[in-house]
């Protein structure tokens, strides 16, 4: 947002240097975060997400064992289905792998899929919304027709067909999520754009000779940004949940074990009733991650609510 810094450009004009009387644009994001930190659940959610980020970034050096390494007991036999112990905190799988290490490395897939798919869906969704809402007419009809079509596509059959065509990889999972889930962002933000574009300051920009792209990105986008942040947070949880679901059904990336893949392994090994320590960690992590991003999203929502907002509008 900080495309031009007047102080930098005009400092030499011989005028007294302008002191920023009020918060600059840069601090707008800071204010958004302060808004989240004022919200109790939002703060907790943010901390949980940061912990997952940390695990995702440094997971390799945190895990005691390789997630796919076979573990052997002292007597040389494979550690099959060992319950939690001091050596294997979350126990081992029936194939002799360490559940704790797998759980930690699953965070990386969750973070990558969650945030990449959220960024892509929200990027597509908000651009579609901005152009459809602002331009109106045929473009709006076309783009909203596309939204209706994506709403009509049932997710699972679509995902299964695409995975079998493209192969199982987390990039394809991100692609599938991105292809469908921009629809809700597009609809909601378009509605906001429709009301914003009738505001006098938009007419005023038009009277000054502003072109559509300029009005959209300089005047409308900054005013829908809180909503975009809210939808990004919600899209993160959708992304993680969808990836887990697909992996549980066996469409996950075999190279990167995710929480969904772990559940799928446990289910196929028939461990659901015998080895609770194999089921609970990935399940709890999915629930925790999704809840955390919802809590951050709720805090964003509170900050976009005009009754709670302390500035703007």
């Amino acid at each position: 947002m900080n495309t031009t810094n007047p102080e930098g450009n005009y400092g030499e004009a011989g005028r007294p240097a302008r002191k920023g009387v009020h918060a600059s644009r840069r601090s707008w994001l800071v204010m958004q975060f302060r808004e989240i930190l004022r919200d109790g659940p939002g703060t907790i959610g943010l901390i949980i997400l940061l912990v997952f980020f940390f695990i995702a970034a440094f997971g390799d050096s945190l895990t005691p064992y390789g997630p796919n390494d076979l573990q052997y007991l002292e007597d040389g036999s494979l550690a099959r289905g060992e319950p939690p112990s001091a050596r294997y905190w979350f126990g081992t799988t029936t194939a002799g792998r360490d559940v704790f290490s797998q759980t930690l490395s699953g965070a990386r897939v969750a973070v990558v899929v969650g945030f990449l798919s959220a960024i892509v869906t929200v990027f597509i969704g908000s651009n579609v919304a901005l152009w459809a809402g602002y331009s109106g007419g045929k473009l709006d009809e076309f783009l909203m027709g596309l939204v209706d079509i994506t709403y009509g596509i049932p997710f699972l059959p679509f995902a299964i067909v695409l995975v079998s065509l493209l192969g199982t990889s987390i990039w394809n999972v991100i692609l599938i999520i991105s292809l469908l889930f921009w629809r809700s962002t597009a609809r909601v933000i378009r509605a906001q754009v429709l009301s914003l574009k009738q505001r006098p300051f938009i007419w005023s920009a038009r009277a000054a000779g502003a072109k559509p792209a300029y009005i959209i990105y300089r005047h409308i986008l900054p005013n829908v940004l809180p909503l975009i942040l809210l939808y990004t947070a919600l899209a993160v949880s959708t992304g993680v949940l969808t990836e887990a679901g697909l992996s549980f059904l066996g469409f996950g990336d075999p190279r990167f074990p995710s929480w969904g893949t772990m559940l799928n392994d446990a289910f196929r090994a028939g461990a659901a009733r015998r080895a609770w320590w194999w089921i609970v960690p990935p399940g709890a992590c999915i629930a925790l991650f999704v809840t955390a991003s919802y809590m951050v999203g709720r805090a964003f929502e509170a900050s976009t609510d005009p009754r709670l907002r302390e500035y703007g509008g």
């Binding site: 007047p6 005028r15 000779g209 502003a210 500035y311």
Partner: protein, 331 residues
Amino acid sequence: MNDSNSIVFAVKDLQKWYPLQQGFIDALLKREKQQFVRAVDGVSFSIRAGEIIGIVGESGSGKTTVGMTALRLYEPTGGTITFMGEDITTHSGDRLQNFRRQAQIIFQNPYESLNPRSTVFESVVEPLRLNKIGTKDEHLERVLQALERAEISPPENFLDRYPHELSGGQRQRLAIARAIVIEPKFLVADEPVSMLDVSIRAGILNLLKQLSQTLETAILYVSHDLSTVRYICDRTMTMYAGKLIELGDTNTVIDEPFHPYTQLLIKAIPEVDPDVKRERVLLEGEVPNLVNPPTGCRFHPRCPFVMDRCRVEEPSLQEVKPKHWAACHLY
């Protein structure tokens, strides 16, 4: 109306019709003819450099639509718009941009006409940047000058503020600074003081008056408030149901109005002095439906002097007295 060659801006037979939404089946079968809301239906006037011309009329008479259409913010349905002797009705691209560079608008609500996320500097410099006027070094000078002209002082202290940190009057001055930073030849002021406290109205009006004199700007002042119109307008037009019904020097229009509608409008102004006995007149009825306007004179259903002729024949704008036109069969 066209006695001077210093005419900056003129419209002729300006029309703005909005198509009425039809049912799908009706449209398919062409069961009904497409209907229109005739918001502006054949309005002609011209403005000279440095002149302020007012449009008055009640809500729904089409006065704001005239302002928006004059600036090509709404596309006219018919008629011509002339700016500096050039027909700009169908201009687009660079030629339209050239018009935008010299025409500006001030809106009614200063709380809505500024982007809440732009600083004062960004709001005021925008017309310069968009129209590629001046270098970056000149921008700051011109912004400060515009703020000074709009009597925001000291301007340096306001550059980094956001609209929500300003009062209503300051915001409207800021909107004016933004409009005059490009030194426009033509300015539409759409009820610029109606949302402001009475105490600061005079300041804003004096400012507009001064600008029209120093910058030779032609101003189209849209208002329903006859007292402010009298205060700053050289000439005044009355609009009713999308039609121009009276046009003349402000003083004569207000003191000796010809059209019965203007007469009633002026009688509706509250009297300050409680001792002055005044005939109370109520304007009955409402603005007519603009989809099917009344035949003949559009005012005839509410007119106290209605004649048979008024119901059939539409009166045209006639010069009743020198430089004073009215559209009424009485004259």
